[in-house]
Amino acid sequence: MSAVQSRQFSQTNPNGDLTEQLSAFLDGEADAPEWLDTPHGKEHWETYHLIGDVLRTADLALPVSARFTAGLEAALRDEPTVLAPRPRPVARFMRRYAMPGVSLMVLVVAVSWLAQPLINPLGPAHTVQASAPAQDVYAANAPRREPEFADYYDVHRHVAGMSGATQVDYAPTRD
């Protein structure tokens, strides 16, 4: 752009920076300038769109009558302001976290239920209760040590040596 053209330009547009932002917003390359809602901003907005429309197709080189513009503005003024309902935070939380969580839990329970015969073919009676402490389980299953057999146990341990079975056998009990 020549110096003369630049000078002519700056004379026609004293709000150059703001108008440049509007031009970039129109192209989706900047945020909307504050003054876009002013009559001056709207005039620029409309004219820039007209230029783009005409460059793309001469069919859109259409004059819009003052009657149409004024009539639509008046009709809009008479319209009650519309408001889109905002999603409530609780509903948003439910939709995002709670419902998927519940769904996942239901899925896990269902899969466990269906797969139970494969995991434990002997049935639920043979299932060790996970909630019981290990010591209690050992104690419940271990044979009771009768005092009169104590010597026999000692001899047996001496002959057989330490093994997994004997360790289990001698696990401490509550009594």
Binding site: R56, V64, A66
Partner: protein, 199 residues
């Protein structure tokens, strides 16, 4: 940010109760809607009334717009339905063929000549606007003309234009703006449109 996203920003503003934002959408799309309706409704005096009705319907329905389609696509359907209702109410048939279902409104049935259904004054004004824009484009310095053509005709982003022209994005932004202002300066005297130059 694409043009669709820019529209979405304005739509969200309207949905929060900002009527001014809807006015901006009207000013952006009013020519496309008027042209669309002029293909469907022969009487020029009715085109603006139906367009106004379509925009008001769109405003009322905007709280329900969820952005699944582009705003203009949604607006286009409202305009077509409004025109159909208008024609049904007035017991007339649409002037165009089935091709008016085209959503972008750009490739309309070419057998329907727009100039046939405009007033002579409007035809004159249209030609004047088109010739002024073309003359202004021709008068632009080459770098400004290239920048605005790549943007408006080719639809390139600023980044793509910067790569194409070998200059920073800030320069592209400035060139496009200056081109628009230079053309707008020539157009403004023509845009103070009197009522007798309407559709």
């Amino acid at each position: 940010m694409t043009e669709r996203e820019a529209d979405a920003i304005l739509v969200e503003r309207v949905q929060r109760g900002d009527k001014q934002a809807f006015d901006l959408l009207v000013r952006k799309y009013q020519r496309k809607i008027l042209r669309l309706l002029s293909r469907l409704i022969r009487d020029p005096s009715e085109v603006e009334d139906v367009a106004q009705e379509a925009f008001i319907k769109a405003y009322r329905a905007l709280p329900g717009f969820r952005g699944e389609s582009a705003f203009y696509t949604w607006l286009y359907r409202i305009a077509v339905n409004t025109a159909k209702n208008h024609l049904a109410a007035s017991k007339r048939r649409p002037s165009g063929g089935p091709s008016y279902e085209n959503e972008d409104g750009e490739t309309f049935d070419e057998t329907a000549n727009l100039s046939d259904i405009q007033t002579p004054e409007a035809v004159m004004a249209s030609r004047e606007i088109a010739s002024t824009v073309n003359a202004a484009i021709e008068a632009l310095p080459a770098e400004l003309r290239t920048a605005i053509m790549l943007r408006e005709i080719e639809g390139l982003s600023y980044e793509e234009i910067a790569q194409s022209m070998g200059c920073p994005i800030g320069t592209v932004r400035s060139r496009i703006f200056r081109a628009r202002e230079a053309i707008a300066a020539r157009l403004r005297p023509l845009l103070d449109t009197a009522d007798d130059r309407r559709w």
